[in-house]
Assembly symmetry: C2
Homo-oligomer: 191 residues x 2
Amino acid sequence: MNKSIEKLITTTQALLWERGYVGTSPRAIQDRAGVGQGSMYHHFRTKAELAQAAEERSAAELIEEVRALLDAPGDPLDRVLTYLRRERDVLKGCRIGRLAADPEVVADPALRKPLEHAFGWITERLAALLREAQDCGRLPQEWDAQSLAATVLAVIQGGYVLARAANSPAPFEQAIEGLIALLTNNATAED
Amino acid sequence: MNKSIEKLITTTQALLWERGYVGTSPRAIQDRAGVGQGSMYHHFRTKAELAQAAEERSAAELIEEVRALLDAPGDPLDRVLTYLRRERDVLKGCRIGRLAADPEVVADPALRKPLEHAFGWITERLAALLREAQDCGRLPQEWDAQSLAATVLAVIQGGYVLARAANSPAPFEQAIEGLIALLTNNATAED
DNA sequence: CAGTAAAAACATACTAGTAGGTACAATCTG
DNA sequence: CAGATTGTACCTACTAGTATGTTTTTACTG
């Protein structure tokens, strides 16, 4: 067990979430982690390398949380709705989506990969559930599950953006409710 | 006409879009604008003051562009769909939404206000059109137009996030197509 | 099992360059 | 020529490290 490495990664995760990649300085990481400069640069050669480790951890944690919700037993569409209504610290935003705003993250393949992986995984998992929902007759067969999955994830990510712009969770909640109305009151609802 | 003021504002608009508030330094603004430090600090007392002017300009421009699209003649729902399919430089993201990621912007009321104003205006305008669409019978009356408007805007903003994370416009386009399917293939479609 | 060698871990000092300004003199412009 | 504008110098603090020295572990030998 290396205590310093662990502390550096969790601290960097927190700072990346709060302030993004450009807004997070090595010094801020060291101070908050209570780890000296020499230590930090011993374990991680650059800020980017440490950020990458932190991103990978955050992506894995997010995937694990979403997997737990979406793998639950029950009706597939209901599980998607549960995921949509999941409790969130809305104004804090998404630990992964936040990083997509940083040009340095998007430009560096190593820094961008964890984002692509997390969002790719969630989209695929949602698409699979939505296809199940189509097979159950709860969604029209002619809809494209893959596109719909992207829509679901986009509403969440966009909801965060609107909420932070308004400094209020209300737009997030409205966006979610609007999507739920769209998903539950569709052409198959009258069967 | 003050040439320096104009150049400073348009340059800051561009830099805020590209790099956000934290990532934009006074020096970078001066260099790209070709304006000296003395000039800049003569016209704008702080970086925040200049950023605010740039944000207000960007918000006004965005509103004007959206207004032009949404005020066009024709069926209200079709106008929303046209807005959704509008051409965009997807990987560049939204000039306003990008700033919601910056904690310093969200924390400062003066810097946050233009975002709240722009998104508030667009949401209201969309909600009005969606209500019209309900009155035309193209959307179910029981849906809440305000929530739906938030959903539409969230899909766009979230689409940008997903696209940048994937370094590809594809997730954006999928999210839009999914939303269009939801909006056009609903319970009233069988009337 | 003591002793030691090597490596891993941590700390301190230093660096060139940038962030976000202030102070003030010089220069336009009406 | 007064007031608006601009250029230059300067400031303190921070960024992203490098360089170097000091402990602390671990691993092996006799």
